[in-house]
Amino acid sequence: MALVKVRELSKHYGSVTGIEGIQFNIDAGESMAIVGPNGSGKTTLVRCLLGLVEASEGIVHIAGNSYQPGDPTRIGYLPEDRGHFQRDRVIDVLRLFGTLRGLDSRAADGQAHEYLEEMGLGSLAFRPIQALSNGQQQKVHLGITFMGDPDLLVLDEPTRGFDPVNKAFFNKYVAERTSRGVTLILVTHQMQEVDDLTERILFLDDGAQHYLGTVHDAKRDLGEIRTEFTFLGDLPSLINDWPLELQGRGRAALIHRDGEDRMPERLLSDLMNAGVRVTGFQTRSSTLDEVFVHTYGESMQAEDEISR
């Protein structure tokens, strides 16, 4: 049974459309990323899911119901606009959210200390949050999200403000939880995070659902196959029939759709027959970053030009 069920979900702010006709399921233990350019409706979708804003139309069910605080499904939400009780002590804030999610005070205390030790913040437990650095505050906020061992994690740009070491550490931390069956909804612009942490991906464009599928399928369906090779000398004119993209001296690439009539094999055969001294040859799918640029690049550029 789907833990999260969304059908024909729309949210309008007056005449402005936040999201329109969104629908998907997320099974318990599954992880899904929501991606899209700024203003594409990601945060609105998350807010509708959690009941933070009332949807204009459609159905949003979490574990079979419109989600309300106090429901058995525990949710750890890290919002995009995050803040803290700045003057309160780190441990007190973590305890508070632990108890709000049903832990007794001793369990909340234990879990808070455990998290702080894991994050290397054990010595800061009794400091007021405002005395911490931005990165440390971000870790405390993530701690708030994880308190009470939520069944569903909804993380909006979780690694914003993290250095690469902390990003890697955080990704490992989340991956451990998803491997234990925690469901994850990840909103991010970091495509590497999507690749590392989620199985499925939802592309939003201008509030509408542009694509929904597995990360692997998205690369195939929205991306391209890149056959890249390196060579010595010049390419003979014979090869000019191929729509190659020269990428500097001795480097070229053929960009094509998956399954287009064994193109890499034919290209390599032609290069050999033409006497080109090929020193390297590989075929790979687009990365998610390339898929993102390929999907949204043109429309974003057009918007930039209009706004200019």
């Binding site: 059908r7 024909e8 979900l9 807010r47 509708c48 959690l50 009941g51 933070l52 804003v53 009332e54 949807a55 204009s56 139309e57 459609g58 159905i59 949003v60 119901n65 419109s66 309300q68 605080p69 106090g70 949710i75 939400y77 890290l78 919002p79 606009d81 995050r82 803040g83 803290h84 009780f85 700045q86 959210f97 709000l100 999610r101 708030i144």
Partner: protein, 370 residues
């Protein structure tokens, strides 16, 4: 901290007051070392000596001694005190030195002359200490004046104090929550309505507790050490405890504070910063105090349009009611209508505030339209 500081301050004031009081003798005459010359012949030498005075013989030399600091004060009484002024030459030390010697010069003259009057009637008439017994009536019954309004007015004082203190706390609390962007995270775990109402109640209880902690020690200290400091104490024995006025005062106080808390909370739910909130708080305080500006009209012409408007306008109603309850010029009908308006305003404001606070949050179990 504040109460402890106030108590410490009171003790310091008390000790310095004690030192000052040592410079008065049993007859109430101010005493300190001074020199005097008496051209009038009215000054009682014995009284002057008891006040610390020494008779000077050479006025020019005495004036020179004042300039050089050998003599602190020289008082010269003229031969005709009805036409000429008493002259005082003084080496100034403190800010109030002048007033002290002036008082002494007058006191010494008055007390010296009083000693020469044989008739107690003349003496009492001249010193203006004849007592007056006044009987006042209002609406056909004896009017006890300030004694009758003291207790009901206490409710007004409490209303002003609690509203200002709690209003600021509530607006500050909500604004801080908004500025620190913690609502969204909270609202996933607790409904906005619960957070709002809990914050209102918690802030009110904590604020009232803080207020009590600050005020009670000051009041206790005032009554404990006030008499020894010479502070005026209320004449409790003359206060009239009118049960109906006290009941109305207490009820109006509770309703008024509840309404003002709701109004402040509604503003707190909407504002984005403390600064924005303080502008609204100032408006509420002006509205709350505005009946004080027409107190004369309230006491003498309660049927006037201004008083009637303030009786029924929600933000001014509680303080107007409390004034009129103290003055005893409010009718039962006016009281019922006005308190009903206050109650309705409280309920409507609270509901609206909850709605504003939760923003567009979905209501419990209300599925989106499909």
């Amino acid at each position: 901290m504040v109460p402890a500081f106030m108590i410490l301050l009171a003790f310091l004031v008390q000790s310095s007051e004690s030192a000052i009081r040592k410079s008065s003798d049993v007859s109430g005459l101010t005493t300190f070392a001074f020199h005097y010359l008496d051209h009038s012949g009215l000054i009682d030498a014995d009284l002057a000596r008891r006040a610390g005075g020494s008779l000077a013989t050479d006025v020019d030399k005495a004036k020179e001694d004042v300039k050089t600091g050998k003599i602190r004060t020289l008082i010269v009484y003229p031969s005709d005190v009805a036409r000429s002024k008493i002259q005082i030459f003084e080496n100034n030390v403190g800010l109030v030195a002048d007033q002290k010697s002036t008082a002494l010069a007058r006191q010494l003259l008055q007390m010296s002359v009083a000693r020469t009057v044989d008739s107690p009637q003349i003496l009492k008439s001249l010193t203006a200490s004849v007592e007056v017994d006044r009987a006042g009536y209002r609406n056909g019954v004896p009017d006890l004046g300030l004694a009758a309004v003291a207790v009901p007015m206490l409710f007004l004082f409490l209303y002003f104090t609690m509203t200002i203190f709690l209003g600021n706390q509530i607006i500050g609390g909500f604004a801080e929550e908004r500025e620190q962007k913690i609502r969204e995270v909270l609202f996933v775990d607790v409904t906005a309505s619960s957070v709002f109402l809990a914050r209102m109640v918690a802030t009110t209880v904590l604020g009232a507790l803080q207020l009590a902690i600050m005020v009670i020690p000051i009041v206790v200290a005032y009554f404990a050490i006030g008499p020894s400091l010479g502070l005026p104490l209320p004449a409790f024995s003359t206060w009239v405890l009118d049960s109906s006025k006290m009941l109305v005062g207490f009820g109006t106080l509770l309703l008024g504070v509840a309404m003002m808390i709701a109004v402040h909370a509604a503003v707190g739910a909407k504002i984005k910063s403390v600064r924005e909130g303080s502008a609204f708080a100032t408006l509420f305080i002006i509205a709350m105090f505005s009946p004080s500006y027409i107190l004369g009209v309230i006491s003498e012409n309660p049927g006037s349009i201004a008083v009637q408007t303030m009786t029924y306008f929600p933000l001014t109603a509680p303080s107007t009611l409390l004034f009129r309850n103290a003055l005893g010029n409010i009718s039962l009908v006016e009281l019922v209508i006005s308190t009903t308006i206050v109650v309705i305003t409280t309920v409507v404001t609270t509901l609206a505030a909850v709605r504003v606070y939760r923003g567009g949050q979905a209501l419990p179990r209300k599925a989106p339209k499909s």
